[in-house]
């Protein structure tokens, strides 16, 4: 087989593989309309063990400062529980976006708990401390935004499919209200939650 023919065959194989992947992408991730900044139907396909409308599973975590908490310690206030991987571009941009609205969330009493997924989902990246310093440097460390590492149990309970960026909005009663990802794309949802729209009673 000549070199040109080998290149052609190589190119066709890449084309076939890429077309399969892209076809799967096109069918699973709907393109958002030009008038709407995001496609909410894409987010409905997220699969997790935690269910909307049910009590959020209680998990323990350790903050970067070494303090230990359980999710149930925050019962009585709304919580944004956010799992991320530090190599994930969506997480980086999302953190910067949340830093921009942290004062509004603080006023509404929302507790942000941002946990790096267990071992960064198996791929190296900045630690939780380094990530917080890099992407939320404009926000002074405060009790309403806790940073930490998620255990294997916590990561697998809330994110069994290994999505690198997924957050859960939990009301004061501990009931899971919303599951979504890319906070910077769905920031309206987070603001509405903080203003009480997503919370029942």
């Amino acid at each position: 087989m000549s070199r040109s023919q080998r290149f052609l065959l190589f190119g066709r194989n890449i084309a076939a593989f890429a077309m399969i992947v892209f076809a799967a992408y096109a069918t699973m991730i709907p393109i958002g309309s030009l008038t709407s900044p995001f496609a909410s139907t894409a987010h409905a396909q997220i699969q997790t063990a935690a269910k909307v409308g049910a009590l959020a599973p209680d998990i323990g975590f350790t903050t970067v400062e070494g303090a230990e908490y359980w999710l149930s310690d925050f019962r009585g206030r709304p919580v944004m529980l956010w799992f991320y991987a530090s190599w994930c571009p969506t997480c980086q941009v999302g953190t910067t976006a949340v830093a921009g609205i942290v004062d509004q969330l603080k006023l509404a009493g929302v507790q942000i708990i941002q946990l790096q997924l267990y071992r960064n989902l198996g791929y190296p990246g900045p630690t939780a401390e380094e990530f917080a310093t890099q992407y939320a440097s404009s926000v002074p460390r405060s009790s309403n935004w806790l940073w930490g590492d998620a255990s294997l149990v916590a990561s697998y309970t809330y994110d069994p499919q290994g999505y690198p960026d997924i957050y859960f909005l939990i009301d004061e009663n501990g009931t899971l209200q919303t599951i979504d990802f890319a906070p910077h794309v769905t920031i309206d949802k987070i603001l509405a939650f903080s203003q009480g729209a997503g919370r029942k009673g």
């Binding site: 052609l8 890449i14 992408y25 991730i29 958002g32 894409a42 941009v93 791929y123 690198p164």
Partner: protein, 183 residues
């Protein structure tokens, strides 16, 4: 220089110039909206433009330019019945350039793994590694796609000039046009 000669030869005909321009506009539109998808969790729309970095804009322009040229040359080769073509390489490179944006930070990888029959623990273990790789080496993969497109363009150019050159003629475009060569 061979590639430029082939482009000059093909662009002697106005329809091919318009075709290249149309392909460039189409490809550029696709790239500027899809390349930032790694920053939007896979969401494609006007929001994508907000996260179009300088590097992604550079790759969008470069990939669109090379793709439009490579495809135009391949279409020319097809229409003039030149036997060896590199269209597959062009398409493969183009689609490969979209892989990092579509594979990172979207539900795609877990969904595909599930379709392939992986168990949930397996998906949990594999998904992050795959997505982390594509996220970390996104620019390198785009660079590789660029190289593939350059290669495709060069192959197409060589095939066109090789088919159009007559014995004793210059392969750089000083020789006869395609119609003269075919007659």
């Amino acid at each position: 220089m061979n590639s430029l000669g082939a482009v000059r030869l093909v662009f002697q005909t106005k329809p091919y110039r318009y075709l290249a321009l149309a392909l460039f506009v189409l490809a550029l539109t696709v790239y500027v909206f899809t390349l930032p998808a790694a920053y939007t969790g896979g969401v494609v729309g006007l929001i994508s433009l907000r996260y179009l970095t300088a590097e992604l804009l550079f790759f969008s322009l470069a990939l669109a330019s090379l793709l439009s040229l490579a495809l135009t040359l391949n279409i020319f080769a097809f229409r003039t019945s030149i036997r060896q073509r590199s269209g597959g390489l062009s398409l493969g490179a183009a689609l490969a350039s979209l892989l990092p944006a579509s594979l990172c930070c979207t539900p795609l990888v877990p969904s595909v793994l599930a379709i392939l029959g992986a168990s949930t623990p397996q998906i949990f273990g594999i998904s992050g590694r795959l997505q982390g790789f594509f996220a970390t080496y996104e620019l390198q993969i785009l660079g590789f796609a660029l190289i593939l497109l350059l290669l495709s363009l060069r192959l197409a150019a060589r095939n066109i000039l090789g088919a159009c050159a007559l014995p004793g003629g210059s392969p750089s475009g000083d020789g006869p046009t395609t119609e003269e060569a075919r007659s």
